[in-house]
């Protein structure tokens, strides 16, 4: 029994963290809002190139297909770091979902380009046809991985109608249900892709939450009202303590779910559901708390908090919200007929 990353995994995570801290500060997150005044997609793409050079983009692709063959345990740490930095590109969708999916579908040429950093892939597997990062991606994967007999389609070059989001960095696009070409995947590959997406989303939410909590803790230590730092007020302390509590108890569930996925454990789906439910709720709670303890300044676009908070509001509802995930757990506990799920 050892509930911790091994030293290679920890070192890789640390390296990604250092890279993103240096190369993806808030200014770069702002540069990722297509069409905004500060937009500079080329600058964002340079961060992507560096991730490619580190091998991160092909990390989850099997070694036989030219990747690093790393498991979910190694990946969730990286995705948490991408969340912490609010990286305005679909690292999770590309590296953790599309890489293994395209390899499974036998798209060797695409996999090679993906691993080399030449293929940013947006993905939405929930059947909504609303794909995040469509506006900056080189390819899209869309469809319904949860429906019985569902299928996924690859759009390349991506064809979509742009959609306005409250979070410009999400670069949403709507794709038609019959656009693109059907990927050659069996049901197991579809299901695995959905689990990876849900788990990856959970990991990103943890990182987003940690960044928001750190921002809030710093702010209340500096900001003075009534002659004292507002962090001395018990009402502020307790809100932040509760926020940390939620994050600290979601984080091990995410790592455990990754381990279950890597083992192909029978409970893996349930464990992913637990992880996403806890991470969604925790991140929403931290976002609300961070906003509240900041006061008015958090309500401005000039301050950085919203860069993370908006990502939380979208991410908590993507890849199955907490209600949906808990319903999956109910099914696993025999509290729901399996048929009631989709």
């Amino acid at each position: 029994m050892r509930f911790a990353l091994n030293s290679d995994q920890a070192a890789l995570r640390e390296a990604v963290r250092d890279l993103l801290r240096a190369e993806c500060p808030p200014a770069v997150v702002r540069a990722g809002w297509p069409g905004s005044e500060e937009s500079d997609l080329a600058r964002v793409r340079r961060v992507w190139d560096q991730l490619g050079e580190m091998g991160v983009l092909g990390a989850a692709v099997p070694e036989a297909d030219g990747g690093l063959g790393l498991g979910a345990v190694a990946l969730v740490g990286l995705l948490e770091e991408a969340g912490r930095a609010a990286l305005p590109l679909p690292l999770m969708e590309t590296a953790f979902v599309a890489g293994p999916l395209l390899a499974a579908a036998g798209e060797a040429a695409l996999v090679e380009r993906l691993a080399a950093g030449e293929l940013v892939v947006g993905a939405a597997l929930d059947g909504s046809g609303i794909v995040p990062f469509a506006q900056v991606a080189d390819a899209l994967i869309a469809g319904d991985a949860r429906a019985p007999g569902g299928e996924l389609r690859l759009l390349r070059p991506p064809a979509f109608a742009p959609l306005e989001s409250i979070d410009g960095a999400r670069g949403l696009g709507r794709v038609a249900a019959d656009a693109g070409l059907v990927l050659d995947l069996d049901a197991a590959a579809l299901a695995a892709a959905w689990e990876r997406g849900a788990l990856g989303a959970a990991a990103q939410l943890l990182g987003l939450g940690r960044a928001l909590l750190a921002l809030a803790a710093d702010y209340v230590t500096e900001r003075r009202q009534f002659g004292v730092a507002i962090g001395t007020f018990q009402a502020v302390k307790h809100q932040l303590a509760d926020a940390l509590l939620a994050l600290e108890f979601a984080a091990p569930a995410v790592l455990r779910a990754a381990w279950s996925l890597d083992r192909g454990a029978g409970d893996a789906g349930r464990d992913v559901a637990v992880a996403k439910a806890l991470a969604s709720d925790a991140a929403l709670q931290v976002a609300a708390t961070a906003l509240q303890v900041h006061g008015a300044i958090a309500y401005t676009v000039e301050y950085d908090l919203h860069l993370h908070a908006k990502r939380v509001w979208a991410g908590a509802r993507a890849w199955g919200d907490a209600d949906w995930q808990r319903t999956r757990v109910a099914a696993a506990l025999g509290l729901l007929p399996e048929e009631a799920l989709r």
Partner: protein, 378 residues
């Protein structure tokens, strides 16, 4: 106990409903953007022309002498009709009650008709960079200009909603340089085109330029810019913030209509089959309903001459939390569409400010604990 309206009140409701149905504009741009503000001003002037802008005011100022019950009825109908938010609200709902209470006859006659007609457009000047929740930390100062017969104002105000589009600002300034905290403050009404005043708009969470910073550099205002007496600004300001927390800014009509729209959304989105979402919808509807009942009870007390006092903090806590939950629930129902720019996502972002402005909810809970429950301060 009689929860029915009189025939006269019902007639008033019918008249308001008919006019609103015929006249309410739809699909205006946000009132907190430059383009939308102009559209909203047109609407405000149409309201004024038909004498619906300030129904509870005396007729001579553009109102209808409506009772507080009629005002509630009008608010219900206003939101029921899906009419736009009031870009004049900081004037007519916050400053005006304060002018009625503390203003001289001359101030009332001069200011109120222009406010009603949306000729003067008022914004708040409470917060400063170092004085947000802690309003008594106000640093902006007023220096007596005997020669000019007025005052020189210097300082910085911030978080001024729609400040970039308004013509006037009200707020507190430290008029007694030796004073501390709540003492020695004066409540001023300041034209934003006065020499020495600079306004800089900046962006809110929803992307609109809804906030402004206002810089004052030795800006001159005459004596009649003082509301309620020199060095007596704190108690005047408390009347304004009481309005902001309490009833006048947030009548139940707004939440009732939002709750009805939420129920419609739930029906459209199949919440009949989703017991968890349905329960949250019902909770939001129940809370809007409870806010209505609370308000009717409160207005009965006000009509009987009781002051609301610290209990207005209960209103503020309740409506601000209700508004957030209501919009969160709508986003849950929308699923992957929740993040699209639209009325519910914008309404959610707007609602998030509720627990912060008009005194954070932390401050309100202190007030409730100390002044309603009587817990010790120290």
């Amino acid at each position: 106990m009689d929860l029915t309206y009189t025939p006269a009140e019902e007639a008033f409701r019918a008249e308001a409903r008919a006019w609103l149905e015929a006249n309410v504009p739809h699909d205006l741009a946000s009132g907190d953007s430059a383009e939308g503000f102009a559209q909203h001003l047109e609407w405000e002037r149409a309201l004024h022309a038909a004498r619906w802008a300030v129904v509870s005011w005396p007729e001579r100022y553009g109102g209808r002498d409506a009772s507080i019950w009629e005002w509630l009825i009008f608010e219900e109908e206003y939101y029921r009709a899906g009419a736009p938010m009031r870009v004049t609200q900081n004037g007519i709902f916050l400053l005006a009650p304060t002018i009625f209470e503390f203003g001289t006859q001359e101030q009332q006659d001069a200011l109120l008709p222009r406010m009603a007609a949306a000729e003067d457009l008022w914004c708040q000047g409470w917060s400063e960079p170092g004085a947000g929740s802690d309003l008594a930390a106000t640093k902006a100062r007023a220096v007596r200009d005997e020669a000019g017969g007025g005052w020189r104002l210097t300082g910085q105000k911030t978080w001024t909603t729609r400040g970039a589009f308004c013509t006037h600002m009200f707020g507190l300034f430290r008029s007694d340089p030796g004073s501390e905290r709540h003492r020695g403050l004066t409540y001023f009404m300041v034209p934003l085109d006065a020499p020495g005043v600079t306004v800089r708009g900046f962006g809110r969470l929803d992307g609109d330029e809804g906030f402004a910073e206002v810089f004052l550099d030795d800006a001159f205002v005459p004596d009649d810019a003082v509301l309620g007496g020199v060095d007596r600004g704190w108690s005047v300001a408390m009347a304004t913030t009481g309005s902001e927390r309490g009833l006048t800014l947030r009548s139940p009509g707004r939440f009732l209509s939002a709750a009805e729209r939420l129920v419609e959304l739930a029906r459209d989105r199949g919440a009949r089959e989703d017991a968890l979402a349905r329960d949250r919808v019902v909770r939001a509807w129940i809370d809007a309903d409870a806010y209505q009942q609370f308000t009717l009870q409160q207005v009965t007390e006000i009509a009987a001459g009781s002051a609301t006092g610290a209990r207005s903090s209960l209103n503020k806590l309740f409506w601000s939390q209700l508004d957030v939950r209501l919009h969160e629930t709508a986003l849950d129902l929308l699923g992957p569409e929740a993040e699209l720019d639209g009325p519910w996502s914008r309404g959610f972002l707007f609602a998030l400010a509720g627990p912060i402005y008009a005194g954070t909810n932390e401050i309100q809970r202190n007030i409730v604990a100390e002044r309603v429950l009587g817990l010790p301060r120290k």
